[in-house]
């Protein structure tokens, strides 16, 4: 039966080096091809849709700033998650860590809504980071103590975080003069990141600098530090890590704490950035999209920067595609789904290659 297929997939002797470029390239090409089919089937003009996705986002200073506003949280979350993913610690709960980080940071401006203190923003950053780490540490504790899967625990903690947020913005933290809208008091200027470039509509802000610094720190950690090396060995060769005495518990703690810190920081960046208050929807799913960005970037800090920018272009492009090409609002989500699925399919080529049957046979005889 297998003879009907003229080629087969065989393991490579060495992981392909070209795959670093090849895999993202294949992902993008396949995504574009499939979305042409999708958009045509939806009755929209694929040319116009793809123009909206990939060209329109660069058409104005405003939309470029919007790309940065969206790229910054994606990159920051992905940098944090990638460190854990390299150690094969699967933190799927960045969304929840983001929410808890945002809630905790918001307590400061909600408590002192009139304050002009310069310490306000640093205190919020600290609160957000610590709270994100604390939320992630729940999963670390259950994993190291009871061997509970961190995938399940972090995933469920997302739901708990959502519910806590809903409860707070509809109850204790609701703005009493907010016409019963489920949101907090607007934050004072001292609680907001200063915007960049000074334009009136420009929402890109100083959190971008934090993302750039964090990306550099992640690169330093991954490529130069001994701790990063231990984590990597634990991920790619667990028996060798045990042999060398690298603690698995420590790897789990570091992975989840770093991921939680990054997600908490992103939470602060949202409420102290474009949103400016606490509200039921804090992120368009950055915590989950960050997983895609981390893998699309090959779990490499530099790759993640490009992957984050790419994803942000798609986010901004989605908005304009809805208007320009008149596609349903769920189409951009399908589009993102294409990217992840094709990335996973293409990454098979890192360790495997496709060969014709004849080539396999002659290779076997040689």
């Amino acid at each position: 039966m297998g003879d009907l297929i003229p080629w087969r997939i065989v393991p490579r002797e060495h992981a392909s080096r070209q795959a670093v470029i090849l895999v993202p390239a294949m992902t993008i090409v396949l995504t574009i091809l499939c979305s042409i089919v999708l958009f045509t089937a939806l009755g929209a003009s694929p040319g116009l849709a793809l123009y909206a996705f990939f060209v329109d986002p660069f058409s104005s200073a405003y939309s470029i700033s919007e790309i940065l506003v969206k790229a910054s949280p994606l990159i920051l979350i992905a940098q944090g998650l990638a460190i854990g993913f390299r150690a094969k610690v699967w933190n799927i709960g960045a969304e929840g860590q983001l929410i808890i980080g945002a809630i905790s940071a918001s307590l400061i401006p909600i408590t002192w809504p009139q304050s002009t203190s310069v310490l306000m923003l640093p205190a919020m950053i600290l609160m957000g980071v610590v709270a994100g780490m604390a939320w992630a540490s729940i999963a670390a504790f259950f994993r190291t103590r009871y061997n509970a899967s961190e995938i399940i625990v972090t995933l469920m903690l997302n739901q708990i975080a959502f519910q806590i947020l809903y409860y707070l913005v509809t109850g204790p933290l609701r703005d009493p003069r907010g016409y019963n809208f489920p949101q907090s008091v607007p934050f004072p200027d001292a609680a907001l990141y200063p915007t960049l470039f000074g334009g009136a509509d420009i929402r890109a802000n100083l959190s971008l600098a934090i993302t750039i610094a964090a990306s550099f720190a992640a690169w330093l950690y991954v490529s130069r530090s001994f701790s990063g090396f231990r984590l990597l060995v634990g991920g790619i060769a667990p028996a060798a890590a045990r042999y060398a005495g690298f603690s698995q518990k420590r790897a789990i703690w570091i992975s989840l704490l770093v991921g939680g810190a990054a997600a908490g920081l992103v939470g602060v960046g949202e409420i102290a950035g474009p949103i400016g208050k606490l509200q039921p929807i804090l992120s368009p799913g950055y915590g989950f999209a960050g997983i895609i960005v981390a893998f699309l970037g090959g779990l490499n800090p530099i790759g993640i920067v490009f992957a984050g920018l790419f994803m942000a272009v798609i986010y901004v492009g989605s908005d304009s595609a809805l208007l320009l090409a008149d596609i349903p609002s769920s189409a951009p989500i399908v589009f993102q789904g294409f990217i992840l699925v094709f990335y996973l399919a293409a990454s098979l080529l890192i360790h495997y290659e496709i060969r014709g049957k004849a080539a396999v046979k002659s290779g076997g005889a040689a």
Partner: protein
């Protein structure tokens, strides 16, 4: 479908199993199997009569497993013929072996732990779950194999799991049942139970091929035995009337040259002291350790002989720190005078332990990492890390020196560990561990599967390291190796350890007897000692 639902016929009756003239159930003639580097089976003849319990005995690498694979259709012979009930057959795969009536119970069980016994069995045996459950109960009554068909496998003990495996074979009405080291994981009461079952099976006409290296079991159970050595049959005996030294002679059967280097002076300090170490391994496929005590001094090489699967792997993991004991047992293992049984690998290494595991790729080295980073793996304490950051020049210098010193053939320090041949990777790992200047070096299977030149070099390096005052423990399956380099020998059998014997005053057959469980062999091997140098 109907035919599966009807009950199965009773085992095919054997016409007069006692008759001398009966057609043999299985007859192998001239079976030869060559692998690229070794002839695993070399012209093996084997005849099995219905209702016979026949033992296959031999050292590691004697060709037992290959022979069983051929009978069960997993491997195919290059030469030779197989007759089943007098007819020549070709056994293509395990399915055709099963169709003929050959069943095999593997050393490692193949059961899904999260589902029930009957569901596991239904994967290979046709029929509805209810019917199967009935047939399981029937078989378990018939042969004394108590098993609850509805029980979940993960709740079962090792003995029960093995019964499930045996019942699964029996439901296919085999006429030949192969058991590969079935008692290596069983507690003693279960062993008795298993033997009773096997005897009943034999009485009902099923032939049993019993692979083991445990002499007392073979004596108790088997009526005939075939002994293999280096792929050839060296003896066909009746184990009930053959004594241990004869068995050992047939199994080992060769002169082994002794060490040529000077004797250890024997007055070194204790570097490894094991006292009353017992360990029940949670992995059901591992052998438990029972009250192991011995010590290794500086300036000596202590060899641990034994057929693999007698607890050596578990013991090595307990020594390396990959497996640790609760603090109350910390005194069970002492290194450099300190209790360490509760310490992790890194702490023990700080005391001066180096360890070379038997799995090179994946354990001793991370396959995907370059040699330089595999150097960093354990040698990081040689100044390769400062303020949390890797000092690349130090790491690279270390790796280059290791590659040069040990003559590691590779494309350089950036070569991935997985790209090296087994022997070269082993040279790298041993070099790395020796460059740590260990006070205590533990080596598992130092030269397993590597070429003669590399093996000789590694052995010489071990002796050289001994001269510098290190204490060395070598765990090996190769008697030649142990006789060549070790000063004293201990033998591991069924999770227990023999008393040490000086290598220069013992004889391979004496060690061979201990390897098949005769620990009293020490000092009364019956061999004329005068030949010993």
């Amino acid at each position: 479908m109907m035919k599966h639902n009807t009950s199965y016929p009773a085992p095919v009756a054997i016409e007069n199993p006692m008759s001398e003239m009966a057609t043999p159930l299985l007859q192998l003639s001239g079976i030869t199997k060559r692998y690229p580097s070794v002839v695993a089976n070399d012209g093996i003849d084997l005849t099995i009569q219905p209702g016979e319990i026949h033992a296959i005995l031999g050292e590691n690498g004697a060709g037992k497993s290959t022979l069983m694979k051929i009978i069960f259709g997993v491997a195919h012979p290059d030469e030779g013929r197989i007759h089943w009930c007098g007819e020549e057959v070709r056994i293509e795969n395990p399915a055709s072996a099963r169709t003929l009536g050959i069943g095999m119970v593997f050393q490692h069980f193949s059961l899904f732990e999260t589902v029930s016994v009957v569901e596991n069995i239904s994967l290979t045996v046709p029929g509805s779950l209810e019917e199967l459950a009935d047939r399981i109960r029937q078989k378990s009554d018939e042969f004394g194999l108590p098993v609850n068909p509805g029980a979940l496998v993960h709740n079962l003990s090792v003995g029960e799991r093995q019964r499930v495996e045996i019942i699964r074979c029996l439901l296919q009405e085999p006429r030949l049942l192969i058991l590969d080291e079935p008692t290596s994981v069983l507690p003693p009461p279960n062993v008795e139970q298993l033997f009773a079952t096997l005897r009943k099976l034999a009485e009902s006409g099923v032939a049993i091929l019993y692979i083991s290296h445990k002499m007392d079991e073979i004596k108790a159970l088997c009526s005939s035995a075939t002994i293999l050595r280096l792929g050839q049959v060296t003896g066909r005996i009746d184990p009930r009337t053959t004594d241990a030294s004869e068995l050992a002679r047939l199994m080992i059967g060769r002169e082994i040259p002794h060490a040529t280097h000077a004797e250890a002076n024997g007055d070194g300090e204790d570097r490894l002291v094991v006292s009353g170490l017992s360990y029940a391994d949670p992995d059901p496929h591992s052998v438990d350790l029972h009250n192991i005590s011995f010590s290794v001094k500086s300036g000596e090489i202590l060899g641990v002989a034994g057929v693999s699967g007698n607890g050596q792997q578990t013991m090595a993991r307990l020594f390396s720190g990959e497996e640790i004991l609760p603090p109350q047992f910390r005194e069970a293992i002492q290194m450099m005078g300190q209790p360490v049984a509760h310490m992790n690998a890194e702490k023990r290494r700080r005391l001066g332990l180096s360890f070379v595991p038997e799995e090179r790729l994946g354990r001793g080295a991370a396959p995907g990492l370059e040699l330089k980073n595999n150097g960093l793996l354990t040698a990081h304490r040689l100044g390769m890390v400062r303020r949390g950051f890797v000092r690349r020049p130090q790491r690279d210098q270390f790796t280059d020196k290791c590659i040069t010193d040990m003559d590691v053939r590779c494309s350089g320090r950036n070569a991935a560990a997985a790209s090296l041949s087994g022997g070269n990777l082993q040279k790298f790992i041993i070099g790395r561990e020796m460059m740590l200047e260990p006070k205590l070096l533990i080596v598992s299977q130092p030269t397993w599967g590597i070429d003669v030149g590399a093996a000789a070099m590694i052995r010489q390096r071990l002796v050289d390291l001994r001269e510098t005052g290190a204490a060395i423990l070598v765990i090996s399956e190769e008697l030649e190796e142990l006789f060549e380099i070790s000063d004293r020998l201990i033998v591991m059998y069924d999770g227990r350890m023999s008393d040490p014997v000086p290598t220069r005053a013992t004889h391979p057959e004496e060690i061979g007897r201990m390897m098949i469980g005769d620990f009293d062999a020490v000092g009364k091997s019956g061999v004329d000692q005068s030949w010993v140098i």
